[in-house]
């Protein structure tokens, strides 16, 4: 019942915002090329729907590809860091560089190395998403209760058993925190990448490229529709990750369900 009210309230709030938006336009006489009305945006969305869906699909593939690659490589690197403390102390500080290097500065380099296109944008997304996965997973892998490690040692567990049966499950909540952060920035990373490194061939540009194109053509209503699509994509990524996190943790982790004992 409470949830239903929350959904209804959210829908009501959205309708109010759209109403305010339309009213402001009606009274302030703002030209459509500066701020189009909600109806104009809906019309643009309808008319350019196939093109928008195509751009959306391209950006989705780039963002999902970059995100998944960052999870695979990030977890593998974190596992190496957890197994070899010396390696962690030596290399881990450099992973911070991944977060501090401005992606707009290295995008031209990536285009130089692998030429513009979907793969280049995926690589840019991968670079942006990698650091949160490495940092959070490493933290989870090394933050194991010493008594639990001792327990495994008493059972004469091999290092691989300690890693896969103890450290990795223990790191799952931290891993999902990293993935959630990366999921949020993967869409931003793809859009930013597309501004610099997207293919300019017809139908291969993605949302970022379409946004630049719409802006150059003064198609502001379509530009709004594209921004809405990009927002919806980011939102979807976030909720998919939240759902997967719930699936993996809801049985046992305190963050997913309050449970009284005793």
């Amino acid at each position: 019942m409470k949830k239903r009210w929350l959904v209804l309230n959210s829908i009501g709030l959205f309708a109010c915002l759209v109403g305010v938006w339309a009213s402001v336009l009606a009274f302030a006489h703002i030209p459509a090329y500066i701020l189009p009305g909600p109806i104009a945006v809906a019309v643009a969305l309808h008319e350019r729907f196939p093109s928008l869906v195509n751009s959306l699909w391209i950006t989705t593939c780039e963002a999902a590809g970059g995100l998944m690659a960052s999870i695979v490589f990030g977890v593998a690197i974190a596992m190496l860091f957890a197994q070899w403390r010396g390696l962690r102390q030596l290399v881990f500080p450099y992973t911070v560089l991944l977060q501090t290097v401005p992606i707009v500065a290295i995008a031209p380099l990536i285009i130089n190395w692998i030429s513009a296109g979907t793969f280049a944008v995926t690589v840019i997304t991968f670079i942006i998403c990698l650091a949160p996965v490495i940092a959070n997973t490493t933290q989870g892998l090394i933050s194991v209760d010493q008594n639990q490690v001792d327990l495994f040692l008493m059972y004469k567990a091999t290092p691989a058993q300690v890693l896969f049966s103890l450290r990795l499950p223990n790191a799952l909540p931290s891993l999902f925190t990293g993935i959630r952060i990366s999921a949020g920035i993967s869409v931003i990373g793809s859009l930013t990448g597309e501004l610099f490194a997207s293919s300019t061939r017809v139908g291969e540009g993605g949302l970022g490229y379409a946004i630049i194109y719409a802006n150059n053509q003064m198609e502001t209503a379509y530009l709004f529709a594209l921004v809405l699509a990009a927002t919806a994509l980011g939102f979807s990524f976030f909720f998919i990750v939240m759902f997967l996190e719930w699936l993996a943790l809801h049985n046992w982790h305190e963050s997913t369900r309050p449970q009284a004992a005793d």
């Binding site: 209760d145 008594n147 639990q148 001792d150 327990l151 495994f152 040692l153 008493m154 059972y155 004469k156 567990a157 058993q161 049966s165 103890l166 499950p169 223990n170 799952l172 049985n251 046992w252 982790h253 305190e254 449970q259 004992a261 005793d262």
Partner: protein, 259 residues
């Protein structure tokens, strides 16, 4: 009553053991102690006297700096198959169900699935936890978690149990009940037990011998043989003999607390 055997080889022998940490602090110094098969020995003493360190040395989780530890004539590392360690917190893995936690050791040894299932079911029955076999640790009370931890320790059929303040976090009633359950299992399974606690009453109730340690550095100050009759029950706690032994142990313990 659990009887000690006349095996010439002591179950556990500490020979002039000293443990020094990396920064130079001495946890225990020159401790010599033998424990015969079937004994229930409890370590009592102030914080920092090395009670838990002694268990770590016997388990081989921590190496000695000087002296030697022998478990049934072997090094602690070689004797691990016959030793189970029960920690202060239950150390259950929260992502595994109770039965998966209890079967952890057999799973790591790649034991046959059917044999594992049967053994786990038997141990859960032994500690009266069969009804929560499929539950996750967070759904259990503190006492149930500790019983699951004991069941996990028993799955590998240990000869020796090392228990590091296992009931410290529990309320008094639960602790008393678990003490009685532990003694029931001890009588059945005939283990040798090294137990650590801060509770004098718990030490006297459970043990055949209480070793009082002094701190800085940790060393043996007194040993008390507990002559209470077996089986020990609720009535034992109300007996005059129990009261006298608790008073005696308390007096000796107070002595090691004084500067």
């Amino acid at each position: 009553m659990v009887e000690t055997t006349n095996n010439p080889l002591p179950e556990i022998a500490l020979d002039a053991v000293t443990k020094r940490f990396r920064k130079g602090a001495v946890a225990v110094q020159n401790i010599s102690l033998t424990v015969d098969r079937g004994e229930f020995v409890t370590f009592l003493g102030p914080s920092g006297c090395g009670k838990s360190t002694l268990l770590k040395l016997v388990s081989g989780l921590s190496p000695v700096s000087e002296g030697a530890v022998h478990v049934n004539g072997m090094t602690p590392q070689n004797a691990r198959g016959m030793v189970s360690f029960i920690f202060q917190d239950a150390t259950l893995l929260p992502w595994r169900t109770v039965e998966q936690n209890v079967g952890l050791g057999m799973e790591l040894e790649h034991a046959v699935r059917q044999a594992r299932k049967e053994r786990v079911a038997k141990m859960l029955d032994l500690v009266s936890l069969s009804h929560v076999a499929k539950s996750y640790p967070r759904e259990l009370s503190g006492g149930m978690k500790m019983r699951a931890s004991i069941a996990r320790a028993l799955v590998s059929r240990p000869r020796i149990l090392l228990m590091d303040e296992p009931f410290a976090a529990l309320d008094e009633m639960t602790r008393d009940r678990l003490n009685e359950e532990l003694l029931r299992l001890y009588a059945e399974q005939k283990w040798t037990v090294l137990f650590v606690t801060h509770s004098v009453a718990e030490a006297v109730f459970l043990s055949t011998r209480v070793v009082i340690l002094a701190a800085h550095p940790g060393r043996v100050a007194h040993e008390i043989r507990i002559d209470l009759p077996w089986p020990r029950t609720e009535e034992t706690r109300e007996s005059k003999a129990f009261e006298e032994q608790v008073t005696q142990a308390s007096r000796l313990l107070r002595g090691v607390y004084q500067p």
